[in-house]
């Protein structure tokens, strides 16, 4: 929605700022570099070459779609917008189906679930999950980005996030160094819950999708109902 006043102003500002430095040469250079790296990986490590392509595609998608996990959890509370959260819920639905297929291929019809080797991130859940989530939530809102968002914005040229990256690396290294301590204290004592173990993979998948769809409708309703930070 725009008005004539804004249109006029926009045209005037565009006229004042004619000199645009083109960034297309940089794009060309980086495309060539990316292809060269892909070629090198094909020679030395085939697995890395696949990761390289998947990584590039994920980065491209996140950048173009402005997919931001921080915004998805911050904006509903701050301004009452849930468009990004809805996108995340849809991504979860797709992921649920995808992972159910992957795990079904792995598990098959067997009744015994070898939960430590099933593909996916199946980890013990306990008080450490909640504490970690709260700390991470506070941190990501202050720094303005989670891991993927921070990396994407650095690539985009948003300088502030380099400070975040330093903290991010420090935190990761500290975490890796002290993991054993926390593991002894909380993680190894917590149970590993894998719901398909109790109700079977198909029902677990359908149940999760139903819950996600209900969440989607709730979030959609929340968006229409809430107009926070209005004047």
């Amino acid at each position: 929605m725009s008005s004539s006043k804004i249109e006029e102003l926009k045209k005037r500002r565009q006229k004042e700022n004619k000199a645009k430095s083109s960034q297309i040469p940089y794009a060309a250079i980086f495309t060539v570099v990316a292809i060269v790296i892909y070629g090198v990986f094909l020679k030395i490590n085939l697995k890395y070459s696949t990761f390289w392509i998947i990584g590039l595609l994920i980065g491209f998608t996140i950048q173009r779609s402005r997919f931001c996990f921080t915004a998805s959890f911050r904006d509903p509370i701050l301004v009452g917008n849930t468009s990004v959260l809805k996108a995340i819920i849809i991504a979860f639905i797709i992921m649920t189906i995808g992972f159910a297929l992957v795990q079904y291929i792995f598990v098959g019809d067997s009744e015994i679930f070898d939960i430590y080797n099933i593909p996916g991130q199946i980890h013990p859940v306990g008080i450490h999950t909640a504490i970690g989530a709260i700390i991470f939530g506070i941190g990501m809102v202050i720094s303005g980005g989670c891991a993927s968002g921070t990396l994407m914005r650095i690539g985009e040229g948003f300088i502030l996030q380099i400070v975040v990256l330093v903290g991010f690396i420090v935190g990761t290294l500290l975490g890796a160094r002290q993991y054993e301590f926390w593991d002894k204290l909380f993680i190894s004592k917590s149970p590993t819950v894998y719901i398909p173990q109790y109700i079977g993979l198909p029902i677990a998948m359908i149940g999760q999708i139903v819950i996600l769809i209900l969440l989607y409708f709730f979030v959609d309703w929340y968006d229409r109902k809430n107009n926070l930070m209005m004047m």
Binding site: M1, E7, K20, C68, L160, Q161, M230
Partner: protein, 75 residues
């Protein structure tokens, strides 16, 4: 009609939105707020919010990676 310019360069979300909100509160109806930012997420963030508030809003990319958002206070 006044034009107020606020500088949100190098500011990360949600600071530009909060700055815009505070500035808009001080402005009169019909005034235009010009918000400069280099944070592409702020563009989507602010425009979505402004549309929800039913303000007139638009933006343009003046230089590569530098945007100006225009919000007209209509109520």
């Amino acid at each position: 009609m006044a034009e107020v310019r606020i500088d949100c360069m190098y500011e990360t979300c949600p600071i530009p939105l909060l700055k815009a909100l505070k500035q808009l509160e001080k402005m009169n109806i019909g005034d235009i707020l010009i918000l400069e930012t280099d944070h592409s997420c702020a563009v989507t963030n602010i425009i979505e919010w402004a549309k929800k508030q039913q303000y007139n809003v638009d933006y343009t990319e003046l230089n590569e990676g530098e945007w100006e958002i225009y919000i007209e206070k209509v109520k």
